[in-house]
């Protein structure tokens, strides 16, 4: 029982990270058809900027500071990427993807040049470093922080997309970009906003991944990115609820399978992906293929 609780808590913690990365990825892909390979780099940048803040400010203040700094760094880099790299290549979707591939290679190498290839240890504030007793299992407190933030983001995104005019434009853009443009609405502004929003979530994920592992290293973002892609494919591009469900499924399957046998977790995620692809005859947007 304690093992089950512990596995579930860890799985949900991972699911929270996957959701943070995949939600931005999914919205960007749904709205702009850009598969953003630089998204993992945004995660890493958020992680390192957050680590630098936490390194200078200790305690809870440092934690809040690093979370905010991670969000700001992720959003800033993503917005700059959209402006400088994605927008000039508008109308050349393949080149947009290729350019993000180049960024995805170059940025982690740059981070490695600045902060070194070895992982940097992240010291948590005292109240976060402990464990919480759930049904006899000692679950690290960080897991609850991850889950709490992910749930908050899910609710915030649902409200933003469902209740505001900006959200309406994004949802309409995901459905049919040309039609929205034809109605006289500038989708490009929505593109920038979604990119910055996704980058902010990715930067936040970078900080949280650092807290989760207790360290940051240049390859963190890239390793999260692969599973975030799986989550996007499973959840359907542009669907926030689908992304959340898929993230939970991937996180839990990975943890349970890992318990059965080490390194089986990652394989079982891919098997899950293959099974879903075989059984479902729909394309990414959720429309019949």
């Amino acid at each position: 029982m304690t093992t089950l609780v512990l596995l579930t808590a860890t799985g949900l913690g991972l699911a929270a990270l996957y959701f943070l990365v995949a939600s931005g990825l999914s919205l960007i892909f749904g709205l702009m058809d850009v598969l953003n390979f630089a998204h993992g780099a945004f995660v890493s940048i958020g992680g390192y900027v957050g680590w630098t803040v936490a390194d200078h400010l200790s305690g809870t203040f440092g934690l809040v500071g690093s979370l905010l700094a991670g969000i700001a760094a992720g959003a800033a880099v993503a917005a700059a990427t959209e402006l400088a790299v994605i927008r000039p290549l508008y109308g050349r979707p393949l080149d947009q993807v290729l350019a993000t591939v180049g960024l995805g290679l170059a940025i982690p190498a740059l981070l490695q040049a600045i902060w070194g290839a070895d992982s940097r240890t992240w010291l948590l504030p005292g109240w976060l470093a402990g464990t919480v007793n759930v049904a006899g299992a000692h679950v690290p407190t960080v897991r609850f922080l991850l889950i709490g933030i992910a749930v908050a983001l899910l609710i915030a995104l649902r409200l933003l997309l469902g209740r505001t005019r900006a959200g309406l434009i994004v949802r309409a853009g995901v459905e049919d970009r040309e039609m929205v443009t034809a109605l006289g609405i500038d989708v490009r502004r929505a593109n920038s906003a979604v990119f910055a929003l996704g980058g902010a979530a990715a930067g936040l994920a970078g900080v949280l991944y650092g807290l989760y592992q207790g360290s940051v290293s240049p390859g963190d973002g890239t390793s999260l990115l692969v599973f975030a892609f799986v989550v996007v494919v499973l959840g359907g591009a542009g669907s926030i609820t689908g992304t959340a469900v898929a993230a939970i499924a991937v996180g839990l399957v990975q943890q349970y399978a890992d318990y059965a046998s080490a390194s089986l977790g990652d394989e079982s995620v891919v098997i899950l992906l293959a099974a879903v692809l075989l059984l479902r005859r729909r394309n990414l947007q959720g429309r019949p293929a």
């Binding site: 290549l89 180049g102 170059a106 982690p108 040049a113 599973f227 990652d266």
Partner: protein
């Protein structure tokens, strides 16, 4: 002005050069005779062309070029973006090594079995993954490639050697391919592999299925409307390119003398994409040029990164320049921006002004 600089050669030679098969024959013949020459090109290579170190470097370039050609069949000719190409290279490399080292099979039997395994694997994977189109396919193949990578690195260290990789049992390697003195033979094997890839891909793209692949690249919906099933042609391209990649894995294994998990990483597949785009996707010589240039650059950038010229620079400049991936990634973005046709596209644009058609 341009006309004056690129003064056109006499018509007789131009006609020979324009014939693609003759041109290929000339290029490959020159490459074939390289190990016999003792010319040294200072600043480009460390020693004369027949030195084992230089031949090894050139052979790796040739293997990369062959792999790039195999990737281009999918990416440039059929318009299918796969991020799992490295897993077929891994399959060729690791199945051969494991069969030789742990099952005691001969090298050729193991290599043949590795190709058979790849054939089945690419058929199954392609059948599943091609059900999602476009970018979704890229994500799915990336996930599968990652699964293979994790399997190789941490699945069974006794079998695969984990992060260190595994040395190929040297008693199984024929004497003609063993040792530094025989580097020339390895070079010729790498060249033969490149010729095989080029012939297979050029032959296939000139055939009827190849024309359908090109049509899928241009407009998949139209191919469907014409009553053809794009799925089957994409699957064919996927299997052929997978088999060629596995062959490349086997040749690379011989060159390195052992299996290395770097070929399974997503960065390796991305580097194949960089080669193809660098050279010019879907062009006859694009992938070959890209593979050779990338192979040379990636091997000598590591050397430049550690050189004294870089070490003398102030820290803020030195850091990024010591990272080959940073330079390659940044160069890649610039190429996407400013030279969408790649190097071959550039060359073709220039030679067209002298009256020679691009090839």
């Amino acid at each position: 002005m341009t006309r004056a600089r690129f003064s056109a050669p006499p018509v007789r030679y131009r006609r020979i050069w324009r014939n693609n098969w003759l041109r290929a024959l000339i290029v490959f013949a020159v490459l074939y005779f390289l190990p016999y020459s003792t010319i040294s090109i200072p600043g480009v290579f460390d020693g004369p062309l027949d030195a084992p170190g230089v031949l090894q470097l050139l052979a790796v370039c040739l293997v990369f070029a062959g792999l790039a050609v195999s990737y281009d069949l999918l990416f440039g000719h059929t318009g299918v973006m796969s991020f799992g190409h490295g897993m077929f290279v891994t399959a060729g490399m690791y199945v051969t090594t494991i069969l030789v080292n742990h099952a005691g099979y001969a090298l050729f039997t193991s290599a043949a079995l590795a190709l058979a395994v790849t054939l089945i694997a690419s058929l199954l994977l392609g059948a599943v993954a091609l059900r999602v189109g476009g970018i979704g396919f890229a994500m799915v193949t990336l996930a599968f490639g990652q699964a293979v990578s994790i399997l190789v690195i941490s699945g069974s260290p006794q079998l695969t050697g984990g992060e260190q990789g595994q040395t190929l049992n040297s008693s199984a390697v024929p004497a003609a391919l063993d040792g530094v003195r025989n580097t020339a033979n390895l070079y010729w094997i790498a060249l033969a592999y490149l010729v095989l890839c080029a012939a297979a891909v050029w032959g296939l793209t000139a055939s009827t299925p190849g024309r359908v692949m090109r049509a899928i690249h241009e407009n998949e919906r139209r191919v469907e409307v014409l009553g053809l099933n794009p799925y089957l042609f994409k699957l064919l391209a996927f299997i052929v390119s997978g088999l060629l990649a596995a062959g490349g894995g086997i040749v690379y294994l011989l060159l390195l003398g052992g299996a290395t998990p770097t070929v399974s990483t997503s960065n390796f597949t991305l580097s194949l994409l960089v080669m193809v785009v660098l050279g010019g996707a879907g062009r006859r010589w694009g992938a070959i040029v890209g593979g050779l240039v990338y192979g040379y650059a990636s091997q000598s950038l590591t050397r430049v990164s550690g050189s004294s010229a870089i070490a003398g620079l102030p820290g803020i400049l030195r850091g990024p320049l010591e990272q080959p991936l940073f330079l390659l990634g940044a160069a890649f973005v610039l190429i996407v921006f400013f030279a969408p046709g790649g190097l071959a596209g550039r060359l073709a644009a220039k030679t067209t002004t002298t009256g020679i058609k691009e090839g």
